[in-house]
């Protein structure tokens, strides 16, 4: 029975990790909550797991092909940057 589960592991051959240190549990959680809403568009090709630890946002990507990993990572970094900039510009002490 256990042997049947094993081949699945090799399918997600490509992976990478991203770590962003917000030095704030609150800010890291805000970004987490904003980005966890959008699921990966091709869950059979790319997986994304996120967590918040000690004010850091940790993101782990796994994909079946390098190009899916690249596309997913790149799109994620764009919205991550946007969410971070939004906190910087509209968070506490914002000036209009």
């Amino acid at each position: 029975m256990a042997a049947a589960v094993a081949p699945e592991v090799s399918q997600w051959e490509f992976s990478c990790d991203l770590e962003v240190d917000y030095e704030s549990e609150e800010n890291a959680s805000i970004v987490y909550a904003a980005l966890v809403v959008d699921k990966e568009l091709q869950p059979d090709k790319v997986k994304r797991q996120m967590s918040v630890v000690n004010g850091k946002l940790l993101v782990h990507f796994e994909a079946v092909e390098a190009r899916f990993l690249r596309a997913s990572f790149s799109a994620f970094v764009d919205v991550l940057t946007l969410a971070t900039k939004t906190i910087e510009q509209f968070g506490q002490g914002m000036e209009l």
Binding site: I30, V31, A33, A34, L35, V37, D38, L41, A75, D78, V79, T81, L82, A83, K85, T86, I87, Q89, F90, G91, M94, L96
Partner: protein
């Protein structure tokens, strides 16, 4: 009582806009920025999203500043849930999710098509019209009935605005301020009418065959000096708009409604408005249309529609604040209109 205020975000196509409105429809600010591609090119999802990423935060600042409000005064944050292009839609959704947490404000997801209708109604004062919604991505004839905006007719392939935009690319007309505007201006100089297929199927229309036809004909006729680009623009507009007038008139007869409201980007076309006005006046009704400030995608329309829903008790939890490329007009339960209806019924009962 303090007036309710909403901040709205629109970014489903090549415009990114942020607007501030009050519940009575007063627009306090409505800045937007348009992604304009070089002549001969359309806008693609990824590049459009990059454009939105660049402009959205300055637009938020500008909207708040012009409106003269602080985040504290806002009651809800509204964004376009769909329909539209995925990547550009995500930009507004992400900013709204972050702001909602920073400012502790509720979120309201809004249907883009319904927002066009509500904006058109509040700006023109049209109460219960047949709505022609024509833009680069949508072509629908809509009427309200029993809690929803029902689609009576629509395109079975591409939108009328997409047909015009893509023909503008064939002629390499400028995309500034919009390809449709430049077609409209050129069409005014057209003298010769060229026969083009006219494709109405029951209550629906089809534009993709017309586009293929005119794309092929244009090159040939222009090379042989048989007509001018202006003649082609004129003939294309007359044909497309006649089709829209036909299905709109049929919907009016079917629903027994006298007035028409035109919304969406193609709705600023004055020739379309003129043709529709003639048909309307023959039926003893009125045409309601708006100019480019409200017709074209903007943040205020999203803010206003979201605020209507919010004032009637509807909001979207953060975890459910997704976006979707497909989101039909009739999926939305227009709770704010049901209250209007029951208001009317009470009025009638009082009179009796």
């Amino acid at each position: 009582m303090k007036k309710m205020i909403a901040l709205g975000f629109e970014g489903s196509a090549n415009k990114i806009g942020v607007g501030v409105v009050t519940l009575d429809g007063n627009i306090l600010s409505n800045p937007r920025h348009t992604y304009i591609t070089p002549p001969g090119h359309g806008f693609l999802p990824r590049e459009t999203a990059q454009h939105h990423l660049e402009h959205i935060l300055p637009l938020v600042k500008s909207a708040l500043k012009t409106a003269g409000i602080t985040p504290d005064e806002i009651d809800c944050l509204c964004y376009t849930k769909g329909p539209g292009m995925g990547a550009p839609l995500q930009v507004s959704a992400v900013v709204v999710r972050v702001l909602s947490q920073l400012w502790k404000k509720p979120i309201v997801a809004v249907n883009h098509c319904v927002a066009h209708i509500e904006m058109g109604r509040i700006v023109t004062g049209a109460e219960d019209p047949v709505v022609l919604y024509v833009s680069g991505g949508n072509t629908q004839v809509i009427a309200y009935s029993e809690g929803r905006y029902r689609i009576f007719g629509e395109t079975i392939d591409i939108a009328v605005g997409n047909c015009l935009d893509r023909f503008a690319r064939v002629l390499t007309l400028s995309n500034d301020p919009s390809p449709g505007y430049n077609i409209e201006q050129l069409a005014k100089k057209g003298e010769k009418f060229i026969d083009i297929p006219y494709v109405v199927k029951g209550m629906d229309v089809s534009f993709s065959g017309i586009l293929s036809y005119i794309e092929a004909t244009a090159t040939e006729k222009l090379n042989n000096n048989e007509c001018t680009p202006a003649d082609l623009c004129y003939s294309l507009q007359e044909t497309l708009f006649a089709m829209l007038v036909e299905i709109t008139e049929r919907a009016m007869a079917h629903c027994d409604k006298k007035d028409i409201l035109i919304v969406g980007g193609v709705g600023c076309n004055e020739r379309l408005q003129e043709m529709m006005r003639i048909m309307c006046s023959e039926r003893g009704g009125k045409l309601f249309a708006t100019d480019d400030r409200y017709c074209i995608d903007n943040g205020a329309m999203i803010a206003y529609t979201g605020l209507l829903a919010f004032a009637h008790g509807s909001s979207t939890p953060l975890e459910e604040s997704t976006f979707t490329q497909r989101f039909r007009t009739d999926e939305v339960h227009a709770i704010w209109r049901e209250k209007e209806d029951s208001g009317c019924k009470n009025g009638i009962m009082e009179k009796a």
